[in-house]
Structures are given as structure tokens and as C-alpha cells.
């Protein structure tokens, strides 16, 4: 999830502190804090599942790409970096096999659909 959750939480912390000042116009404060609440709700939901989902997704991507290996560093930045590397490889692989390998193509689409279920946010419109 970009921007990174940890970076956004730091920024929101500063924003909340600024809005604690008594001279902030009420409409400005309401706008800032309303959005902050919405972002915190998304972060809370996604952060809890993040490591589990990334490890699972990276495993599925390696299968599709015919790669071996596993995630040894379970910190979110490391898992996210590996996920980006694998998804970039998937784009190339997908483009190579389109119209040529229906079975693999279907498997790629199925994994892409599954990835959006893992990444669902509260109140998603789709």
C-alpha cells in the first residue's frame, strides 16, 4: 500500500497535533480530522493483515513464475520490496504468454483477482 503506512502515520500524528491548537478554524479541523479518521481505519485493517497477505501472495507469485525461494525477512518493507519485484516479473510473464498459454493465463488472472480480495479496504466501492 503506497504511500507506506508507517510514513503516513507519522504525518497524521503531526497533523493531529497541529489540530489540537485552539485557533484552528472549525471547518479546517473537521476536514483534517475526518480524513485522518478514515485513513487510520484503513491503516488499522490493512496493517494487521499485511505480513500474512504479502507472504501468501509472494508464494503464489513464485509458483506462477516457476521460481523457488521463500521470504526469510518478514519485515513489511522487505516483503513489500519482494512483492514489487515479483509483480514486475509477472507483468512481463503475462505479456509473453497472452494468447499462447491459456492455462497459465487463467491462473494469472485468478491470482490477480485473489490479490484484490486480500487488499480490500473497508467500504471499498467495488
Amino acid at each position: 500500500m503506497k504511500p507506506n503506512v508507517s510514513d503516513v502515520l507519522m504525518e497524521l500524528s503531526a497533523l493531529v497535533a497541529r489540530n489540537a491548537a485552539p485557533d484552528i478554524p472549525p471547518t479546517d479541523r473537521a476536514g483534517a480530522l475526518g480524513l485522518t479518521a478514515a485513513l487510520l481505519a484503513i491503516a488499522g485493517r490493512r496493517w494487521d493483515d499485511a505480513a500474512h497477505n504479502l507472504v501468501h501472495e509472494n508464494r503464489e507469485l513464485r509458483k506462477l513464475l516457476g521460481l523457488s525461494g521463500q521470504d526469510d525477512d518478514l519485515r513489511i518493507p522487505a516483503l513489500t520490496g519482494e512483492n514489487a519485484r515479483l509483480r514486475a516479473m509477472l507483468i512481463n510473464r503475462h505479456a509473453e504468454i497472452e494468447g499462447k498459454d491459456q492455462q497459465l493465463e487463467d491462473a494469472i488472472w485468478a491470482e490477480l483477482a485473489a490479490s484484490t480480495v486480500r487488499r480490500l479496504t473497508p467500504g471499498s466501492p467495488v
Binding site: P3, E11, D28, L35, I42, A88, I91, P125, V126
Partner: protein, 339 residues
């Protein structure tokens, strides 16, 4: 000097007959990541009589999720003012950064109506959906019916040949993705490959394209009337099906499974065809709907990029990528029949 004071000084310079110009009740309107939007009350004395008016300030932020020319937005509003397409009256455009730090324009406020989509699924708005849908796509048809040259918009908007409409738009938004994406987007890249391999036919005619015509970007009342079409910052010349397809991007169904959250797609198409006098070829409309999934993702990605690069650290820049990027991927899969 406060923003109120600077605004009053600026407006004084444009109203030489006015005295005692005062700006008060300045309040930022939530949302709007592409421009900072404020409402305020302008009061002044003219020929011995006190006057006042509710106005809107739209100012460029330090960095935006879309890069657009505010002159084009300003001229698009001005061109349609007084026509069947309801828009607010434009008053002043300032393209220099001196007066208020960033370029801006000032417009009359259309007071007393709502824009928030969430309200539409609460009382007393539930009964107005059929009327609102009729007005929404009738007005979009009127935009498509309008002659860009007669409106004076061919002087400010970049021309495009009919055969180039799709490639210009797809090329632009693909480049935005190339430059701004912070992580690989396999679903959107697959959609782009399909779009390039299956181009749509040229448009029936080149029209003004609003560029962001969706539920949420117009002012409505409880009876389903529309009083103002807003957010013309992406207006350009092109294929009118582009505007129709933007509204069919499933992200803008707000989870209701209908066009704009209001009526089934085929009803919206019928209203638009009747109003525009054009036919919405199903295959071409499919292409433009999928294209608009790509465009939507490019906009959310740009918002993330503006935040990551530090140009704009407002929380409104985080909300689109966090709340809509995955939804846009799902919308793309849905349009492609993969979800």
C-alpha cells in the same frame, strides 16, 4: 497578511467602483485534491449602498494529483455559463503566483445544494434517483451536443484528429503511470495491452469532454434537479464516449452496482443518446469504460506520488490511493469480465 486580507486586496483591484471591500467567513471546503477550494463572503460598498456576495476561491495546491491548466478549466466554465449546462459564473482568473502564492480563480457560489454522493442513499434523496439520472445524462448529452468552436473552446483546448482521440488519451495516462507509479500494477498493465490491441473507432464528432463527469461532481437538490456541474479541470476536446465511459467506471457506482449509483447502465445510455443525438456504440463504449479504469488508476497513483515526493502532504492525497487503488483494480477486472 491573512488570506482574507490578500483576497480583499486582490478583489479591490478588480472592482474599482467598490469601497470598503471585506472578505470574511472564509472556510476551506473538504475534498478536492486537485485544487484548494474555499468559500467566502465578499462585502463592499458601491454608490453608497452595501452589497455582498457568496464566492468560491479555487487555488492550485503546492502539488496536485493531476496537472492541468486552470485557464482551460476557467474558460470551460465560462463557455457553458448561461447555457443548458448549469455551471457557476466565473469572475476572475489569476495565473500569476504573486497575489495568493499560487494561481487561482474566483467564481460565484451556487448556494444551497449538495454534491456529496453519500447523501443520495439517504432520505430525502432516495426518491429522486430517476429524475437525477435523467438530468445527469441529459446534461452530459448537452455537453456532447455543444459546438466547441461556437463556444470559443477550440482557441484554448488542444485540437485532436478523430482518429487520434483514443491514442492521445491512452498515451497521456500511460505516461502518467510510467512516471508516477510507486509499485507495479499488473492488472492495469494488462488492461493497457488490451486497449492498444483493440482500438475503438473514431468518434462521430469531436466534442468538449468534461473529463470528470460523475456523481459527486455536480450540485443537486432533493427533487433531483442539477444546479451546477463542477470540476472541469480535465476538460478537453475528444470523443464524447470518453465522458460516458468515465461515469461507467465501476468505482463511480459507489458500491450500488448501477451507473453513478443511480440507474442501470442501459438507461443512462438511452438518456444520453436521446440528449446528445449520438449513438453509443457498445464496443466503443466498452473501450472507453476500460480506458477510464486506466485513467482512474493513473489519477490515484499520481496522488500517491505527490505525497511520497513531499510536494503535498495533505491527507486528501493519501485517501485516493489507499481507498481507491485496489477498488480501481477490482473495477478493471470487473469490466474485463475477470471478477
Amino acid at each position: 497578511m491573512s488570506l482574507e486580507g490578500r483576497l480583499a486586496a486582490y478583489i479591490s483591484g478588480r472592482l474599482p467602483q467598490a469601497q470598503n471591500v471585506v472578505v470574511d467567513r472564509l472556510a476551506r471546503i473538504s475534498g478536492g485534491a486537485s485544487r484548494e477550494t474555499y468559500r467566502f463572503r465578499l462585502s463592499w460598498t458601491e454608490a453608497g449602498a452595501g452589497r455582498s456576495r457568496a464566492l468560491i476561491l479555487r487555488r492550485d495546491p503546492p502539488a496536485s494529483l493531476i496537472d492541468t491548466e486552470r485557464r482551460i478549466e476557467f474558460e470551460a466554465y465560462r463557455a457553458f455559463f448561461g447555457s443548458d449546462v448549469p455551471v457557476p459564473e466565473m469572475l476572475w482568473l489569476e495565473e500569476e503566483s504573486g497575489p495568493l502564492d499560487h494561481p487561482f480563480f474566483i467564481a460565484a457560489e451556487i448556494e444551497g445544494f449538495q454534491a456529496a454522493p453519500a447523501l443520495l442513499w439517504t432520505e430525502p434523496y432516495l426518491a429522486c434517483h430517476p429524475k437525477l439520472a435523467d438530468r445527469k445524462w441529459t446534461i452530459l448529452g448537452q455537453i456532447a451536443r455543444a459546438d466547441p468552436e461556437a463556444l470559443g473552446l477550440t482557441r484554448v483546448m488542444e485540437p485532436v484528429a478523430p482518429a487520434d482521440c483514443w491514442s492521445r488519451e491512452l498515451g497521456y495516462w500511460e505516461q502518467v503511470l510510467d512516471e508516477d507509479e510507486a509499485e507495479p500494477l499488473p492488472i492495469i498493465r494488462a488492461a493497457i495491452r488490451w486497449l492498444r490491441a483493440n482500438p475503438p473507432p473514431p468518434p462521430q464528432r469531436i466534442t468538449v469532454v468534461h473529463g470528470d463527469y460523475r456523481t459527486g461532481n455536480f450540485l443537486f437538490d432533493t427533487a433531483g434537479e442539477i444546479h451546477g456541474v463542477l470540476d472541469w479541470e480535465m476538460a478537453h476536446l475528444g470523443d464524447p464516449l470518453e465522458d460516458l465511459g468515465w461515469g461507467f467506471n465501476p468505482v463511480w457506482s459507489f458500491g450500488r452496482g448501477q451507473a453513478g449509483g443511480l440507474v442501470p447502465d442501459h438507461q443512462a445510455v438511452a438518456i444520453w443518446e436521446r440528449s446528445s443525438g449520438l449513438r453509443a456504440d457498445p464496443d466503443a463504449l466498452y473501450w472507453w469504460t476500460l480506458f477510464n479504469c486506466v485513467k482512474g488508476q493513473a489519477i490515484w497513483v499520481s496522488s500517491a506520488r505527490a505525497w511520497i515526493d513531499g510536494g503535498n502532504r495533505e491527507p486528501i492525497m493519501v485517501y485516493p490511493p489507499w481507498a481507491l487503488q485496489n477498488a480501481q483494480d477490482r473495477a478493471t477486472l470487473k469490466v474485463m469480465g475477470r471478477l
